[in-house]
Amino acid sequence: MTDQNDRSVQDIHEYLAEFEDIPGTRVYTASRARKGYHLNQFAMSLMKPENRERWKAGERAYLDEWPLTEDQKLAVLARDYNRMLDLGGNIYFLSKIFSTDGIPFAEACSTMTDMTFPEYRQMMLDGGRSPVGNRSIKGGF
């Protein structure tokens, strides 16, 4: 009953390789999840009000309680979200950081692009970023 359509099992290597062909995008694969495990767990800890208080009282000291790499810590302190993504962060975990900062999701997103927040907001009001030319690095379509 679970196989009503033809399905050929795809090789996991091909499956994952395709993801690297998307411009400006880090798909949250296992290898990123492993690299970012403690970074994401740190971010997750900010869901508790008492942790948010301690974090706000001293970011570096709070970070030092977690087994993050120095690169990860610096990226967090700098709120460099692209760098955090490169170091294994996932945006849903990282959102606990900018939520704690009181920054809206769209503003946080804009910091990962080459736009200012007002420019980004205007792009969204105008219909968002077009998929044209943004689908494939190799294909350029």
Binding site: Y15, L16, F19, I22, V27, K48, Y120, G128, S136
Partner: protein, 280 residues
């Protein structure tokens, strides 16, 4: 006998929850979005479903990075709104329907779906925002909810075909529950959006609408859409649309469209909303 009488698809953007909670849902920005749900709010008030199987994803709220269930079904009595970093939403607790939830969970496992059963968890905007869109701001939600959380964050997420097949199995399970219950299934998330990286802000009106087209009628095409297509065409978070396929699969061979709404943008996201009924 319990029956699935309708399916609802809807985006579940957190900002829509903020708009409701702060009374902004009729302002210039949110008005056009919420207007598209007016039909559904009136229709739900008439339909009075007993239970909703609410397919959504947890956004790093109930599940941390330690444990990643592909399909988790909530079999508990009630669920509190999660604190996602700015305090829990001021919405009522969500009441479960443990009898039906356990019945579905058991039936699905017999039917070779490798479910994870959860008794206690908090539920985040993925679940509470669609409730607000469909029911407004009641003191108590007028319906019981069976949360069905799908991993759409860590890859590989389940294939479209597997999601559709899960929907089919949910239909069989619901129909073997002896009590007379009016059950709806909701698929939430999407539509096109990308919340990360230099490509953030990608939207794709054309593809989103093609996807909604495919859910109406008797086409089975959508179950074969590969993950890479969602990612390329609709942004990294557009993959949430696979959850709509669970809803579609649970409606059987053919569907009729009762209501449809599409709006760009809400924050980073394209809003899509669909109300379907099964054609017997």
């Amino acid at each position: 006998m319990a029956r699935i009488t309708a399916g609802v698809g809807s985006s579940h953007v957190p900002l829509l929850g903020v708009a409701v909670d702060q009374g902004k849902s009729r302002d210039d920005y949110f008005g056009p979005i919420f207007a598209g749900y007016d039909w559904t709010r009136a229709w739900e008030a008439e339909q009075k479903p007993d239970v909703i199987v609410l397919v959504y994803n947890d956004h790093a709220s109930a599940f941390d990075a330690n444990i990643i269930p592909t399909f988790a079904i909530g079999c508990g009595e009630r669920y509190k709104p999660a604190d996602e970093g700015w305090g829990p939403r001021p919405v009522p607790d969500v009441e479960g329907h443990a009898d039906l939830a356990w019945h579905i969970a058991q039936s699905l496992i017999l039917d070779d779906f490798d479910m994870t059963i959860i008794n206690e968890m908090d539920v985040d905007h993925g679940l509470t925002v669609p409730l607000s869109m469909m029911f407004g701001q009641p003191d108590r939600w007028p319906v019981k909810v069976i949360p069905l959380a799908v991993n759409v964050v860590t890859y590989p997420v389940p294939s479209g075909n597997r999601c559709w097949a899960l929907g089919e199995a949910i239909k069989r399970a619901v129909e073997s529950f002896p009590e007379d219950l009016n059950v709806q299934i909701w698929g939430t998330g999407g539509m096109s959006h990308q919340l990360q990286g230099p490509r953030a802000g990608l939207l794709n009106r054309e593809w989103d609408n093609m996807f909604m087209d495919l859910l109406v009628g008797d086409s089975q095409e959508a179950r074969a859409i590969p993950h890479i297509e969602y990612l390329r065409e609709t942004g990294s978070e557009g993959i949430e649309m696979v959850m709509w396929l669970i809803m579609r699969g649970a409606l059987g061979r053919e569907t009729r469209c009762l209501h449809r709404h599409y709006h760009i943008p809400c924050s980073n996201t394209a809003i899509g909303h669909l109300v379907l009924e099964p054609v017997e």
